[in-house]
């Protein structure tokens, strides 16, 4: 049973995909995880180990083969169907930006607000202020195809933040960003999440990014994924960029890297 302060709870969650040719792909073996309210947890693991699958199961996009997923006491999957109540206050940011080409940037960002019935004036106002939050001022009316990959990801982040979700599921959100912009976005993400007390599950390939952002880091084994290690990051949030240069920070990054290399060997 998840603890009382738990926001997202995974209990013995496993996922086996059946391919068209009838082969079984064991993507997730057995994951137990509790993410507390307002906690920032990163999932770290090699490519193809099932990180996206885990986020999709939490978001109610992929039913687990077995096990249970709970969001604030409400099961995400009920009799194989996604629960609208459990997933209501989640926002998922996909590995690809997934902006719709028939909307411009502000319309894309305003889309979830529109789907909640917010009127045009107020949702576009919010979208514009989100644009400036993620550094896209001046591109409000641009078409997604005219933006760089990194800019599109930032627009997708703005869209995910728009509804003020209680839980954010981020699938490698900053993979296409340069190191400088990535730092900026991480600072911004940290600020927004702390200000609103958002619970975050972040998938990343960057150990440094995971250490910088997270309260805890979950290291996953190669497919089928299972939790091999959970690291608690001792630094107080919010964290300044300079923290990344400190010895303690570097040491933790090094330790996690060594563990992962050892596990892979």
């Amino acid at each position: 049973m998840p603890s009382p302060g738990s926001d997202i709870g995974l209990k013995a969650v496993a996922k086996t995909y059946m391919t068209r040719s009838g082969d079984a792909v064991h993507a997730v073996n057995r994951v137990d995880l509790d993410i507390a309210r307002g906690e920032f947890v990163s999932l770290l693991g090699p490519s193809g180990c099932g990180k996206t699958t885990i986020l999709r199961m939490i978001a109610g996009l992929e039913p687990p083969t077995s096990g249970e997923i709970v969001m604030r006491g409400e099961a995400v999957w009920q009799k194989g169907r996604r629960s609208a109540v459990a997933t209501r206050d989640m926002a998922m940011m996909f590995q690809e930006a997934r902006l719709l080409p028939w909307f411009n940037i502000e319309e894309n960002i305003a889309l979830p607000l529109r789907l909640r019935g917010e009127d045009e004036k107020s949702r576009l106002e919010k979208a514009r202020s989100l644009c400036s939050t993620v550094g896209l001022s001046g591109f409000e009316r641009a078409r997604p195809s005219n933006l760089s990959g990194g800019m599109r990801q930032r627009a997708a982040l703005a869209r995910a933040l728009g509804t003020e979700p209680q839980a954010l599921l981020l699938d490698e959100p900053f993979g296409a960003l340069d190191a400088m912009t990535r730092d900026q976005m991480n600072i911004e993400l940290q600020r927004v999440c702390l200000a609103r007390g958002v619970t975050v599950a972040l998938v990343t390939h960057s150990i440094a990014e995971a250490v910088f952002l997270s309260d805890r880091i979950v290291a996953l084994a190669p497919r089928p994924s299972r939790v091999v290690d959970i690291y608690t990051v001792p630094f107080e949030r919010p964290r300044p960029v300079e923290l990344q240069r400190s010895a303690a920070f570097q040491q933790l990054v090094g330790r996690i890297r060594d563990d992962i290399l050892r596990a892979a060997a």
């Binding site: 978001a59 109610g60 690809e96 789907l115």
Partner: protein
């Protein structure tokens, strides 16, 4: 090649082709002594065309043919969209109706024209029905394909944003499918015009199809060619309107323009 000369040639070369075509035609009928009853020289057709459009009588024929084609096309769009949506959304409807509709498509519809005239008379109605029958399938088929090929990931995005089915339809399905549907409509409008003309060939006393037959019976071959030219221009206009509509409604879609 520089971009300027490229653009220039793009305009110039087709003109050269057309001029060459008519030149060969003129030289051929002249040197081979082809009877003007079989193939009149282009210049004569040109005069006949000027006479035809200069004479106010032709416009009632134009109007009727355009009316039939546009009405038939509109019906085809409405039915194509309704059935395309229905079959894309309801698995049972697809299973029950798709084989039937595809089989209907295999019936040579031109062969049904006498039947439609029997049922709907010699007036405009039978031509509208023929026109709609011909234009329906490409619009229906493209609507079905368009709605069924909405990106899975985009669908997941909408699910994750808790979108209601109706909102998903308007904001995701329709814009996703629109480029494909309108490409079907481009084919549809051309078939609608053919339907109207074939209908007029068979019966009635008005419309450009009727006029073509009348000119043939009078052995006015140059006039017949002039009618064909006029029909071509009408076809081009209607097609351009639909193609323009596609480009205007779906500017994000980088399609290669269709060639009918």
């Amino acid at each position: 090649m520089s971009e300027r000369t490229d653009r220039l040639l793009r305009v110039l070369l087709p003109v050269v082709t057309v001029v060459a075509f008519f030149a060969v035609w003129t030289v051929y009928v002249d040197s081979a002594k082809v009877s003007a009853f079989i193939l009149p020289p282009p210049l004569e057709i040109g005069y006949a065309f000027v006479r035809l459009v200069g004479d106010g009588g032709v416009w009632k024929h134009v109007l009727v043919t355009v009316e039939e084609a546009v009405a038939g096309f509109a019906i085809a769009v409405a039915l194509g969209l309704v059935f395309g949506t229905l079959l894309a959304k309801l698995r049972l409807a697809e299973m029950a109706l798709k084989p039937f509709i595809v089989a209907l498509q295999l019936v040579p519809k031109i062969a049904l024209v006498p039947l439609f005239i029997l049922w709907f008379g010699f007036g405009i109605e039978s031509k509208v029905v023929i026109s709609a029958a011909l234009a329906f399938f490409p619009i229906f088929a493209n609507a079905l394909i368009g709605f069924k090929s909405v990106d899975r990931g985009d669908r997941d995005l909408f699910i994750s944003m808790q979108a209601k089915p109706l909102a998903t339809f308007w904001l995701l399905d329709l814009p996703s499918a629109l480029p494909v549907i309108l490409t079907g409509a481009e084919v549809g409008i051309v078939l609608a015009i053919i339907g109207a003309i074939v209908g007029e060939f068979m019966g009635g006393n008005v419309g450009l199809g009727y006029l073509a037959v009348a000119k043939l019976q009078d052995l006015k071959v140059a006039d017949l060619f002039a009618v064909i030219l006029l029909l071509t221009l009408i076809g081009l206009t209607l097609y351009s309107l639909v193609a323009g509509l596609r480009r205007w409604l779906t500017p994000w879609h980088q399609a290669v323009d269709t060639i009918i």
